[in-house]
């Protein structure tokens, strides 16, 4: 009876998890998603805790309390810090999977080596490998995103990098294969720690050559790994609930990585092993000096007053400057005058999928006025003013026009087809890819140099002054 109740609770949890994700298709129904997820999780925890083999409760209570104590502050971070929080939670997921895999292996080795079937051992190896590589990989990613001083921000590239990385991975797989063939063999007590150490090292080495603009893809890939390690844990523990939840997480990570890769016109392998660094060195040499045309805030405000349709293209620069609330004030000022304002967001803008949307939502900009790149591009000729805030490569027309340029073929927001372009930029250095942005030198483009928050604040003030006059 007890057992049947437990299985029913697990089954209900599976249904609720799928519903939670299903409701995410629209911001309105999404409000139900979290309740469904919490209910499912509570069911699963209660059902598991009441299992007869769970006899020690103190550690469970302590660990749960510890989780709440650390988890609550982690959920209160500023929304500009959401990418690093997400990476950190991938790390926790990987850690949990790796530790459970390790615990199960040593338990079975000491208590019943017969239990270590080939299937289970394969699952343990996959779980431990993916779990620990996700742990260190995500910690590195979180450190880079947070700007931790001893983690290099720029991609670190050294000779034979891919050979070293793949060699390490091959060694880890070899250790794993040895364990599957003979889980209690003479070298097993060495092979298992070696597997763990290599996975940890591989996670670090995989992330150090990756730069900031590739972070959305990398976070998605780490998401998929964390999900797959949960699936493997499900096989180890023979839990269908874990297999399903892990597969949902893994599938989500996969889809997001595919979307990110397509938005950059690159493949998985190119992001993980591609030498973006080498290409950029080649691209920078040989471009002659060109000059920016600057515009004053007053001039820009005048042009915007005449505009009927304004688009705003936000990028990572908006997040860095925490400028989203000022942008909302500008939006209010313009819409109050009857100007139509649309936000156009590139899928890889920011440091994680959907990053810009969350920041704009925080500033209470209604999501009806957010349009996708593919929906805006055909109507770009009708745009009177395109205001580019801290976005660079995603509006670079070279991706359309210059064959051989490193970002050639990447889908872009075609702001260069708008009648007037204002670009807010902090400094005069090129973007992440190290490529000069052609857009900035077009006839209709004017630069507004300065901190995005200040420039937009002044722009809004100027518009208000002009209106009063």
């Amino acid at each position: 009876m007890m057992h049947a109740l437990m299985e029913i609770a697990y089954l209900a949890a599976i249904v609720l998890f799928i519903l939670a994700l299903y409701w995410m298709n629209d911001p309105k129904s999404a409000r139900r998603s979290v309740s469904a997820g919490v209910a499912a999780m509570a069911l699963a925890i209660v059902a598991t805790w009441s299992r007869p083999e769970v006899v020690h409760h103190l550690w469970i209570i302590l660990a749960l309390i510890g989780g709440v104590v650390v988890g609550v502050p982690l959920s209160r971070v500023a929304l500009t810090a959401v990418p690093q929080r997400t990476a950190l939670s991938h790390a926790f997921g990987g850690l949990a999977a790796g530790l459970v895999g390790t615990a199960k292996y040593y338990m079975w080795v000491s208590e019943g080596p017969d239990e270590l079937t080939g299937f289970r051992m394969t699952a343990i190896v996959v779980e431990t490998l993916l779990g620990f590589l996700t742990l260190t990989g995500s910690l590195m990613a979180a450190g880079k995103l947070h700007g931790v001083s001893w983690i290099p921000q720029r991609p670190v590239i050294y000779p034979l990098q891919n050979v070293t990385n793949l060699g390490l991975l091959a060694l880890a797989v070899a250790a794993g294969a040895y364990l599957v063939v003979d889980p209690t063999g003479p070298w097993a007590h060495v092979a298992f720690p070696v597997l763990i150490a290599l996975s940890l090292a591989f996670g670090v080495l995989l992330i150090i050559p990756i730069g900031g603009a590739d972070m959305p893809t990398v976070i998605s890939i780490l998401n998929a790994y964390a999900g797959l390690s949960a699936v493997a844990m499900g096989f180890v523990l023979d839990s269908r609930l874990l297999v399903v939840a892990g597969a949902l997480d893994g599938a989500s990570g996969l889809i997001l990585s595919i979307i990110m890769c397509r938005a950059m016109n690159r493949s998985f392998t190119n992001v993980l092993f591609g030498g973006f660094g080498q290409v950029q060195a080649a691209a920078v040499t040989g471009t002659e000096e060109r000059h920016y045309k600057e515009e004053t805030v007053e001039g820009a405000a005048q042009t915007m007053e005449m505009a009927r349709l304004v688009i705003i293209v936000p990028g990572y620069g908006m997040a860095v400057a925490h400028a989203q609330h000022r942008v909302a004030e500008l939006y209010d000022q313009l819409t109050a005058r009857g100007t139509t304002v649309k936000f156009v967001i590139h899928p890889v803008a920011g440091r994680m999928p959907g990053h810009m949307n969350v920041l704009l939502a925080e500033a209470e900009i209604p999501y009806d006025d957010i349009v996708e790149m593919d929906d805006m591009n055909p109507d770009m000729e009708q745009v009177d003013v395109a205001l580019v805030i801290g976005a660079n490569d995603v509006v670079n027309p070279a991706a359309r026009e210059q064959k051989g340029c490193p970002i050639y073929g990447m889908p872009i927001i075609e702001a260069h087809r708008a009648k007037t372009v204002f670009a807010i930029k902090r400094g005069k250095s090129p973007g992440f890819a190290g490529i000069e942005n052609d857009l900035y030198f077009r006839d209709q483009t004017f630069m507004l140099f300065g901190d995005a928050k200040d420039v937009i604040g002044e722009l809004t003030k100027q518009l208000a002054v002009d209106e009063a006059a």
């Binding site: 998890f17 995410m24 299937f119 997001l256 999928p353």
Partner: protein, 135 residues
């Protein structure tokens, strides 16, 4: 979307079947245990397809909350951690389980709370104060 997810899901299921064949080739697997393994693999393949179908329809606006939600969901590994931390196993093994439980619980709490916080911010025109004055 479906054009690209189909091959990925296909590759995933082929990998699963390969795993199953490789491991059931072992002589030490009883018929019963092997049946369990096969049905778990079937569940994995089906759940993956459901996941790809459901997540392919998720609004692009919500990709950040989606990631924090799936993160919390995959912290269902608490189920395994509770058993490892609470069963009558040797102390070092239970300690590993307790740390894993702590990590999963952190993800559950922070994942659900921040997802809730973000989803509540998404408002249509007229729902919030901003932009309400405009048709």
């Amino acid at each position: 979307m479906s054009r690209i997810t189909a091959p990925v899901a296909g590759a995933w299921s082929i990998a699963c079947v390969a795993l199953a064949v490789a491991s059931s080739a072992h002589a030490d697997v009883s018929a019963d245990a092997s049946g369990q393994n096969w049905s778990s693999l079937t569940v994995l393949v089906l759940a993956t397809f459901i996941g790809l179908g459901v997540i392919g329809r998720v609004s692009r606006l919500l990709h950040t909350p989606l990631m924090s939600l799936t993160n919390a969901i995959s912290a269902i590994s608490v189920v395994g951690s509770i058993v490892v931390a609470g069963s009558d196993f040797p102390t070092p093994i239970r300690a590993l389980g307790a740390v894993a439980l702590f990590a999963s619980m952190t993800n559950i709490v922070s994942g659900f709370l921040i997802t809730e916080r973000m989803i509540r911010m998404f408002k249509e025109r007229g729902e919030g104060q901003k932009g309400a004055q405009k048709q």
